[in-house]
Amino acid sequence: MYQDVILDHYKHPHGRGLRDGDAEVHHVNPTCGDEITLRVRYEGSRIEDISYEGQGCSISQASASVLNDLLVGKDLGEAQKIQGVFLELMQSKGQIEPDDAMEEILEDAVAFAGVSKYPARVKCALLSWMAWKDATAQALDQEAKTA
């Protein structure tokens, strides 16, 4: 499961650190203690930044780095589509062999395909993605209120 891509992201995380954001969330995986604090900043429906701090296993840390890579700069609708595909891959119990079309969408994130065979680790891979989803909901909520 430890693809080089994953190890690279783990050792050299992209976009790590907390910067300004519209909303901040803190997510914990109680069974293994993985933690992430994550902020999102939107410009309209465009994701300006995803910044984060966390501790945990290589899978959860690398996944946050990949998330940052993939979603920053994207439009919300596009990002949700990517998130949907990643979720599907992670819940596939190793049954999905990513094809070119999927690789086009998920880029480095296809490296997590092998993780989906390990139920105990799927939650690690999804931690930052769930945090992003939650933070986004809060940011939109806030915007709706102030609008």
Binding site: T31, C32, P119, A120, R121
Partner: protein, 422 residues
């Protein structure tokens, strides 16, 4: 005898089925073939289940959940896979509604305890009432007596008619606005009666009471569809349905399982623990403290596969035909009185009876000498014996491997008992 058996339809090929059950080969008392008619106490275990257990310990044994090594993942997949199988077997809307317990008794106690510690609107306290029936197994009486002693709640019950059925004539007086829960048996283990769930559920829903169905004698013998039952909880036990000992099931509606407090505390049932406080995992884990009966759940999964491969509807048909035959043949034995319904209508395959004034212990013992295993006593349903003014009964109970020839053996055996003590 052969003529009496004519016209029996819907029987299974018991000769083939019996090959799956090693114990049925046993000979007792110098060569008497075992005639096992004590299935309401416990069923026998097919080779498929025994092998599954051995394979579990020989190949996959590990503690479940949270493990990152191969064995832990295999054991977890097997254990959670068993939950899927059971969920499907009872047509549960969600696998998360299936809680593994050690037996039906723990499942019943679990509900009684949850309700004692619950918040409104579920809380059972001194201003509320709990309803059971006079034909309950002790495991569905004593937990409610304890709850009632400990909370002050009033315990009420439905009585029985002379022919062994629930007396629902006072349905509206027994189940009232004060009733928090109605807990009753789907099929009586002593009388064989199949109870009218719908009438009781309807009244319970009218007053907002929860319904717990004790399906210990139903799950092994008929199609059990928890959605069709419309109950809130259903309990049953593995060892009566071809499964191992040490495993039972509580099914409960998801919203309830979310709202109700835990019962036992410990590993597996928590989300996060500090010395000052803890939060609980979502159901079903919230109700499964400690290392669960892993191999036993896996074994129950294999039992459910086995039963499904035969077909629960076909098993029910088989037992119905056999019961029809048995009540008829038994009533031909002079002095024999069936305690419970005397026809096969709305009736399970457990038949209790008395034989003149020969004590059931003597009946059972003399039958045993002929290799015929029946149960004698009050069958953990002493209020039923009190109700019918008898100290005990003899009970013969059938299962998918029981044959008309075994009914004949029983009848012949009883003739011998009569002569012996005559």
């Amino acid at each position: 005898m052969t003529t009496a058996r004519q016209g029996l339809t819907g029987l299974l090929d018991t000769e083939a089925i019996r090959k799956d059950f090693p114990i049925l080969e046993r000979e007792l008392h110098d060569g008497k073939k075992l005639v096992y008619l004590d299935n309401a106490a416990t069923s026998q275990t097919p080779r498929q289940v025994i092998d599954t257990l051995s394979e579990y310990y020989e190949q996959h044994n590990a503690n479940v959940h949270r493990g990152v090594h191969v064995l832990a993942e295999e054991a977890t997949a097997l254990y959670e896979g068993a939950r899927d199988k059971v969920a499907e077997f009872i047509n549960a809307p969600s696998r998360n509604e299936v809680i593994f317990t050690k037996n039906a008794s723990e499942a019943l106690n679990l509900v009684a305890n949850m309700l004692g510690w619950a918040d409104e609107p579920y809380r059972v306290d001194h201003e509320t009432e709990v309803v059971i029936t006079e034909m309950e197994h002790h495991s569905n009486i004593v937990p409610w007596q304890l709850l009632s002693q400990r909370t002050g709640a009033k315990l009420k019950w439905f009585g029985l008619t002379d022919d062994g059925r629930l007396d629902l004539s006072n349905l509206d007086e027994i189940i009232t606005e004060k009733t928090k829960i109605v807990s009753f048996v789907l099929v009586s283990n002593i009388l064989g009666t199949v109870n009218p769930v719908e009438a009781i559920v309807r009244r319970a829903q009218e007053v907002g009471a929860l319904v717990l169905v004790d399906a210990s004698q139903a799950a092994p013998h008929m199609v059990l569809d928890v959605q069709a039952l419309q109950a809130d909880f259903v309990a049953f036990t593995g060892h009566k349905m071809c499964g191992p000992t040490g495993i039972g099931v509580l099914w409960g509606r998801q919203e309830l399982l979310e709202d109700l407090p835990p019962f036992l505390g410990g590993g597996e049932m928590i989300e996060t623990v500090s010395m000052h406080s803890s939060t609980y995992a979502p159901a079903p884990h919230k109700f499964e403290a400690g290392t669960p009966p892993i191999a036993q759940a896996v074994g129950l999964g294999a039992a459910v596969d086995y039963l499904s491969s035969v077909g629960m509807d076909r098993i029910a048909q088989h037992e119905h035909a056999l019961t029809e035959y048995a009540v008829r043949q038994l009533q031909s034995v002079p002095g024999l009185r069936i305690i419970g319904p005397t026809t096969a209508e709305d009736r399970g395959a457990a038949i209790s009876f008395t034989l003149g004034d020969i004590h059931p212990h003597d009946v059972g013992q003399v039958l045993d000498e002929q290799g015929i295993a029946v149960r004698v006593g009050h069958h953990c349903a002493r209020p039923v014996c009190l109700r019918y003014g008898i100290p005990a009964t003899t009970r013969a109970s059938f299962y998918l491997y029981s044959s008309p020839a075994e009914v004949d053996a029983l009848v012949e055996g009883l003739e011998h008992v009569r002569n012996f003590f005559g």
